[in-house]
Symmetry: D2
Subunit: 260 residues, 4 copies
């Protein structure tokens, strides 16, 4: 097995335990510190990804090569984000894959954008709408960290005023009033392709679904919710975790058809 080696400049996911994961770019002159002790970056240069070392306090630390979702641990986060349980299913529903062209609004700090950019690959493109300049600034930083910024065209614009793209493979909306984007989305989408909406309240779901029905150009409209349950596994003592995320948001899905 050819081992991949950590070098100066490499991204590394430092994993101490479930609550302590940190994404760093190795810089031979820096020191990484936590409440469990510190590590000199220079000490991990030359180690293979997947190996471990110890902090100054003797705590074991794994040095992982980041998967796309590990970069999120290095992201600045100033908005609510879409959780993996939801984004995984949203991508499935959307049908997108390598080469897809997708529209997303608003991008917030770029969590879903990162996953979209990962999935559509180097031949695809994400068109990310966002009205807040401060979010855009952070989203760009974040996407640069994960190396996916070049796949994303960020539009500092209000998607409720219109969508520049046409013939896109899917549209993802995470904004308070998706019903105001339904006609724009219709013009931008390829026929047969879907719009995927994410909203936190049931009232927004109702308004969105009713607007999609009334529009007449959408079929297969559905509203769903994904719930994730974590389990504690111990020999002869397995059970669900005592506390859980009770709610994030609802997912609304519909597919464009021709009206004539």
């Amino acid at each position: 097995m050819s081992e991949e080696i950590i070098r100066n400049g490499s991204p590394v996911l430092i994993m101490i335990d479930r609550k302590r994961r940190f994404l760093i770019k190795v810089d031979k002159d820096k020191i990484f510190g936590t409440d469990k002790g510190y590590i000199k970056h220079s000490d991990i240069i030359g180690l293979p990804y997947g190996s471990y070392t110890y902090t100054s306090q003797g705590v074991k630390v794994y040095l992982l090569k980041p998967l796309h979702h590990d970069y999120l641990y290095g992201y600045r986060r100033i908005t609510q984000v879409i959780y993996p349980k939801d984004s995984g299913y949203m991508i499935y529903l959307s049908g997108i894959g390598p080469g897809s062209r997708v529209v997303e609004a608003g991008i917030g700090t770029g969590y879903l954008t990162t996953y979209l950019a990962h999935i559509i690959g180097g031949q695809g493109k994400v068109y990310g709408y966002e009205i807040r300049e401060d979010y855009i600034k952070i989203a760009k930083e974040n996407l640069r960290l994960s190396g996916l910024l070049e796949r994303v065209i960020i539009r500092h614009a209000d998607i409720r005023k219109g969508i520049l793209e046409t013939n896109v493979d899917a549209i993802f909306l995470d904004l308070p009033d998706p019903w105001n984007v339904i006609e724009h989305a219709y013009k931008a989408l390829k026929p047969s392709h879907p719009i995927i909406v994410y909203v936190p309240t049931i009232n927004q779901v109702e308004k969105t679904v009713l607007a999609l029905r009334e529009h007449g150009g959408y079929i297969d409209i559905k509203a769903q919710e994904i719930i994730l349950r974590n389990y504690i596994i111990e020999e002869n003592a397995s059970r669900p975790e005592p506390f859980m995320i009770g709610h994030t948001g609802y997912i609304v899905y519909a597919r464009k058809v021709l009206k004539h």
Copy 2:
């Protein structure tokens, strides 16, 4: 908007209603029949995707361009399959994307295989292990229908005896005794990369997690369950659907690290 036209030989998802979706390949000499009347294939040649027509009984029918998951409506199915709620999240966890090389076992009739092959794109590869020849035959037919067969190398072999590939990006297991594959998976995986296991009973979850812990070469081990809730949306009368899928399977996840 450039419209894409249905031609002789084109795949079409025929959608009458939520319960009546059919995947056909257009053959100008054939007739498609349901309990809601029939359609002559020749009558839809030349229509744009996304348009509609009527059956002989006057029932409206939409003619959609299939997304990857629409092909499943045309698949022969003789095994339990992994549901979208689960496969969407499993793909997210796996970190795979365009160009990834992944191992899957058993492939059954190829539902998850189809999604994997879609996500890894033309530059990636799925290595699909299956011990039953009858399943392989159907899986091949199914993958041929969705046009993804060339991305899949099917191995008629028992993965519990070993994995031929090395340095793979992720391993997906859907078999009764995943604990017997843990050491083989360890050798096949790239460091930092994950194994994703899908099992229906909590006892299998416990055995798998305990085996992963005991192995020593895996970290970030977790056991989770995804639950999907559908909603009935009506103006001023929205609520969850009265019946739902209560259980499909549990997902176990772990990442390879180096032991030394």
Copy 3:
């Protein structure tokens, strides 16, 4: 252990399997028939409760002494009913017990009424409002079967026009527009005591909660949902049932306080 004997006139829950439970009153001249064969009532007279016999087809049948909820198997049912998972929690919340005086509307065919009448005992009283005479007729038959009719005063009246009782311990509402009963309930309730509302849609929950808040005479207002999951238990193969009830209704709770 003193055994209790089945006599002519005794109620018996005939239990063949989970799907085949029947409530009969023993009548020495009758025959009880199912798709699994028949039993002559006279043949079970003299047997102890809890014993078994066989049908004419040789199928084993248990002869149980009915608990309060077993009588429901003998009830005529023409309305939606409140499920045990919900009524159990509703009773808990209500604080009622032996001797309580409670108001219920509408009683429908008397499922919740039966449980209320059971819990409040011979010293308590249920005041059951219902506008439909056909429901009242069936509810009376049903309550007579379970021997609880004398604890219930049925009022053929629209509770939205007013409540005759005062100083009651709890009020249970299962009707489409509970917000129209909030002021009447306030007058009827003892201070500190609760109103418990059961509604199927989230829109009704919202309207009810907002009306309770606006009224000003209620505190500790909460909206909840109870979900029941059944498990299949087999040695080394335990898991939740594949299908489940996805939704019945929501429960809204509030307690009366003095406004001045």
Copy 4:
């Protein structure tokens, strides 16, 4: 409406907000203090239940007459307790009501005991087994506070060694190894009547169910779980709460039948 007045010695539930509920016995010489200010007990004597007053900091405080479950706010709690979502359903399943005689083990600090004692009324009896003397001491204090101690006979004994009572209406078990009580429970129960078991892990569920099946004297065996979802209700912005209790315990139910 005849108002009930708070007197010296009266129990009062002091409710400031959802997180601040306190159960006191009024003592004219005492002062009740919280982080929101204090109240002199003597100032609330003579006020009607359900009225409000203000703390020294001007915070509004409601003075409620305790329902049975409000006493729990005054209980000392040193063990895990059974939650209302579970105990409500367990009581329903048990079929108990006014006058019932029930066995419970272990009683812990008496939460479920309190509900049982409330439901069975002055004519019923709870036989509570507990092996730990420190728990019994606290359970007694607690039950004295809610005024229900006289309905409970506490047995400082290991129920796995045997049950003194016979012909009981229901048996409730909340202990680590309920399978060791199954034969004793069989002897103690009336035919047709149930045993209700509460356990936190699925492995305990499996062991209990298999033991009940093997015993041969139980039918209608089932394993269930109750999940409670709280909702945030706001006009046009209603949704489930973001965090929830993910797991408490499982409920196993079975009914005694005669073996011969």
